[in-house]
Structures are given as structure tokens and as C-alpha cells.
Symmetry: C2
Subunit: 346 residues, 2 copies
């Protein structure tokens, strides 16, 4: 059995009280920065500090292929996975542009793409296999592969600087794996969990649901989080599980992108529920199952912009809001220090 | 009668088609960047260009006092207006921190604060008066003052570099003026338009609604946009009307903050409806009337974070999303240029 890292709960009533007091003394009406104030409080609790500071944010994009893609569950061919990895590294993808805009260190991880990449800066090759096996025929990965992928995700985060990780992914077929994990671990019908992914039409979506229903039936006994992860895949999701566990164990803030990253957090939180305190959910995706997933985790995302791209693009778009939260707490004047009058009734 | 600048409609079916084609060829599933794609299209139409570029964003914070504040419609005393202007200039306010974070040029405009400021960089003194008159006793400003304030707003924007303005404000009592403008120009009951502002309690809110109802009755004949603006104030709102008109006439993008900036746009769009094409509404405020105002303008804001601070803080928080839109259009690779396969059915 895999050894899980210890993840301390972020809850600390005394520190929360002190942080709230600091927030309420800043030169603004109490509560007037809304969700940004809640973020500042969370960041303080994550860092166990009244003076938190986010530093050197690391954007990790985990890529892998899915054997299930052979069953026609995606609008795009599997080759798009490696082609998009090349595009990330060449600077032409949405996540490349956004990471540059916000000075996020961008790392692309080959978690199991069916392609051999040339080594180059920005690429980490941590291949667990040449894509997962087809989960409609058997388990997507072995228990050993699953454990190795989680361990690789942990190792990657352990070696990174800074105190924030943003989790993104690429993998043709991976909305299917995420939908399967959601259906199994949250107990929803697969028809509610599966969406159009990169753009299936109505017939394509019906076919996807039929395939996924068969996959669920084949792996009826895979009910625990690790068993479900091994049964449905993929390598990139397993590596994100490890990355999230390690990040929380190291008291880093975790910025979760969309549906696939959310599925990884669903698995990780089933293993270690205290991990959720370290997570910020960047946005509500248009992918059908995402709202069910967020509800299951009692999570309220920051953005609602109809995104459904993946790559970590939603996490990168939300990043400046998160970065603002600690800056406001750190740099705003208090009523006393600025000589601003308090409320008439205060 | 005041001369209004000509504001060209942004609609251009041919250019819109070309921009959409460019957006759809970028390496992402069609539509997968949701609202960000719509922003890229809007920015292209505003700039009449297939290759738009946002440059040198200017954050304008217009400050002024309101005579109506003497009627106890705010939780804070009027002195907070000038104290917060000092705080903006000293770098201790939320907008100071956010402007620095996002490299926004910050200009604070004294549109009519009841205080004499020392001259210094970052402050423009364009005082129309020592606060408006009390609108529960007579018009907040004369028609001449109103015209002068609009003219000053136009002059300020005309002299600024860049092609984006972000509109913010400060003025104890100005949610009352905004609520009055909304009630009169959109035809809503004042009880639906007035909110807690900086933090009134239930009794305070009831009192505010009573006062505002009397003000509306006193100025029953002020039904046109300029008459209503002069009747209810304030100087900062009138100056934002001018700033918005001039920005649109110069094909600049206008980022509107919250309820007060929205009220200025309500007035400006009543004068020149084509102005709305140039506006991006940054967020949905918690202030009660804001949703009615947005609905009246058929506007969907970018953020929903429970903000109600003003100062332009919501506009500054939304800015990186807007800045991302043109960058993605400008810098992402196309499927062809990146050698990424198209959809299986495409």
C-alpha cells in the first residue's frame, strides 16, 4: 500500500481571527472585496502566516494519451496530444501565451504520451507508458503504474521552487477518464458526467456515453479512489494526484484548472480530505460534469467564462486574482495608518 | 446645447467574420476560450483591426463630494472622500495596489472634492465645485456645471496616451446619485435601485430610500439624461460621462467598474447609444441596483466576486482577462502553422 504524505488541515481559528482582523482594518468597507478577501484568508491559512506571500508560481501541464480514445470518444485524433505538447513548448498554445503574460514558470510533463520527444528546456519526460491501455478492454493502468505516476507527480513538485502550483493537462480522451472517475467516486449517472469534450456532436456524445457505461460495468469492483484511477486512467491524472498531494503536504497553494484537474483533486481528496483546504478552483468549465464535480467538492470557482480548453488555461487566467489577494493584504494601508475616518456608527 | 462627439458603431459584419475566422483557426477547440474569444472579437471591432493590440491602459479615478451626504445616506462621513484621495496617491488603497500590480497608469482626478489638495504627480485638479449641492433641496449642479464637468472628462481622456481607459471613482454618497439616475433613466422603483453602499444597516437603508424618494419627487421634471445628471449629481459621474464619450469617439476600449461607473455609462449611452459597443463591464457588484443597471444595458459582466468597493478596483481586477484576449489572438499558433491535426470530422 502506497504511503500518503501527511496533509495538515488548514483550519486554525486563532490565526483566522487575526487574519480577518487585519483584512477588516484595511482602508475599504468591511467585506467590500468579496471573494478576494476570502482568498487572502485562505492563503494566510495555507501558509500559517498573518503575512502570507505567494512566490514563484509554477504551472505544470501533464500530458498523456488514453487507450480508450481508440473507441472514438473524442472529436480529435490522439496525435493531437503530442502535437499540442510541441505547440506548448514552441510558445504557440493558449497556455504558452498566458504563462508568459503572467510570468508563470511553465513545465510540460510527458506523463505517458505515445510519442518520443526531443529533450529540451521546459519539458520533463516522466513517461509511465506509451499511453494507457484501453479501459473498455481492461484496466487503463496497473496498480504499479498508478503508484509510479503518483510518485512521479510528487517528486516533480518536491523539486520545484515557490509556494504555488497551477495544475493543467493535455490528453485526447481525458474528459472520458474524468467523467468515469466522477461517476464512480461521486455516484452520479455517467450520462450526467460525460460532456462534449473538445466538441463532439449529439451522435458523438451518445456514443461516448454508451462506451463509458460499458467501461463502468467492466470495472464494477473498482470503487476505491486508487482502484478507480487505475481502472480508468490516465497517467496525467494520476500524476496530478501526486502533484496535488505533495503540494498540500508542503503547504503550497494549488490552483486547479477545470474538469480534468478537478477529477484529479477528487481522487486526491478521497485519499486525503484535508487537501481541499489548499485548493483554489479557477473556473467553472462548460464541460457538462464540471458543475457536479465542483458541487461534490463543495467548491465555488473564481471565474465563470464558459471556458473548456484545458491546458491549465483557466488556472492561468484566474492567477492574477489570486495574486491580488495577498498583495492587497500585504500592501494596503489600514484606517489608522492612512488617517482615514471610520464609519459614522463605528 | 452641448455638442456631442460622433461615436461610430463598432458593428462591421465583414471584419467580424474575418476576426472570427482568425479566432477559430487558433490551436484550440472552436469556442473553447468562451468569453475571452468574445472579448477578442470586441477589441478587434473597437480598433477596426484584424490585429488589435491594447496599449498603455489608463486608470482614471474621479473623486467628488455630494451635498446629499448631509442627509445621512452613507455609513461614512464625507471627509472620507478626500482622505481616500490622499490614500490613493500615497499608494495605500486597493486601487493603488492593483494598478501597480498590473502596470496601469493611475490618475486621480479631483472633480469636486470639498478639500484643497497639494499638487503632486498622479493628481489632476479639475474641481467643478466644493462638492455638489444637496439634491434634496435643489439641483445638485447647474446645467453649466454639468456641461463643464463633461467637458473636463473629455479633455482628460483626449490628452492621455494608449487605447484603453478604465473608469473608477470615489465619493461618499455616490451610490445615492447612481441609484437616482438608475431609477429615473431606467424607470425602476428607487427601493430596488438603492443599496447599502459602503455598509448601511437596515434602518440606514430605509432612511436612504426615504430620502431618495423625496429627491426624485423634487426633480420630477428631470427626465432627460443631462437634466437627471444635473439634478442628482455628482461631479465625478458627470466627468466619467465625458471620459466615456471621448474614449468611444477615439475608439478606445472602456473598462467600466461597478455601480457608479455603470450609472455614468447609463447617462452616456442615453446620449449616444453606440458608446455601449466600446464598453467592457468588469464585474457584477453586490450593490443592489447593479444587476438592474446591467440588465437595462444588456451587459454581461466578466467577474462575479461579490465586490462593492469602487475606486475602479473591479476594473483593475478584470484587466488581465481583457489583456489576455488580444494577446491570445495575436500570439497563438494556428492549426496550420503549428502542424496540429484538425478534428476527425473537420
Amino acid at each position: 500500500m502506497m504511503q500518503l504524505p501527511f496533509i495538515e488541515p488548514i483550519a486554525d481559528a486563532v490565526l483566522a481571527g487575526r487574519l480577518q482582523q487585519r483584512i477588516d482594518r484595511l482602508t475599504k468597507p468591511v467585506g467590500s472585496l468579496g471573494r478576494i478577501e476570502a482568498l487572502a484568508l485562505q492563503i494566510g491559512l495555507v501558509q500559517r502566516s498573518e503575512h502570507p506571500r505567494l512566490d514563484a508560481p509554477q504551472m505544470l501541464v501533464f500530458a498523456a494519451d488514453h487507450g480508450l480514445a481508440a473507441q472514438g470518444v473524442s472529436a480529435y485524433p490522439s496525435d493531437v496530444t503530442w502535437q499540442m505538447v510541441e505547440n506548448f513548448l514552441a510558445g504557440g498554445a493558449a497556455i504558452s501565451v498566458l504563462a508568459e503574460q503572467h510570468s508563470l514558470a511553465l513545465h510540460v510533463v510527458d506523463a505517458g504520451v505515445r510519442h518520443t520527444f526531443e529533450a529540451r528546456p521546459g519539458l520533463m519526460v516522466r513517461k509511465i507508458g506509451e499511453g494507457t491501455a484501453d479501459s473498455s478492454l481492461g484496466a487503463a493502468m496497473t496498480a504499479e503504474q498508478c503508484e509510479r505516476a503518483i510518485g512521479a507527480g510528487r517528486e516533480i513538485v518536491r523539486a520545484l521552487p515557490g509556494n504555488v502550483v497551477l495544475l493543467g493537462e493535455m490528453g485526447i480522451g481525458n474528459t472520458s477518464a474524468a467523467a468515469l472517475l466522477l461517476a464512480r467516486l461521486a455516484g452520479h449517472d455517467i450520462a450526467q458526467c460525460a460532456g462534449r469534450g473538445t466538441g463532439l456532436d449529439d451522435a458523438g456524445l451518445r456514443h461516448k456515453v454508451d462506451v463509458l457505461r460499458r467501461v463502468l460495468a467492466l470495472h464494477e469492483s473498482a470503487t476505491g479512489p486508487l482502484d478507480a484511477l487505475a481502472a480508468f486512467g490516465g497517467f496525467e491524472i494520476a500524476m496530478m494526484v501526486g502533484a496535488a498531494l505533495q503540494a498540500a503536504a508542503g503547504r503550497r497553494l494549488i490552483v486547479v484548472d477545470g474538469f480534468i484537474g478537478g477529477a484529479a483533486v477528487l481522487v486526491a481528496a478521497a485519499l486525503a480530505p484535508t487537501l481541499l483546504g489548499y485548493c483554489v478552483f479557477a473556473h467553472r468549465s462548460n464541460e457538462a460534469g464540471h458543475t457536479l464535480l465542483l458541487d461534490h467538492l463543495h467548491a465555488t470557482p473564481l471565474l465563470e467564462l464558459g471556458l473548456r480548453l484545458g491546458e491549465g488555461s483557466g488556472a492561468a487566467l484566474a492567477w492574477p486574482l489570486i495574486d491580488s489577494a495577498w498583495r492587497l493584504l500585504d500592501r494596503m494601508a489600514s484606517f489608522d495608518s492612512a488617517g482615514v475616518s471610520q464609519r459614522s456608527d463605528g
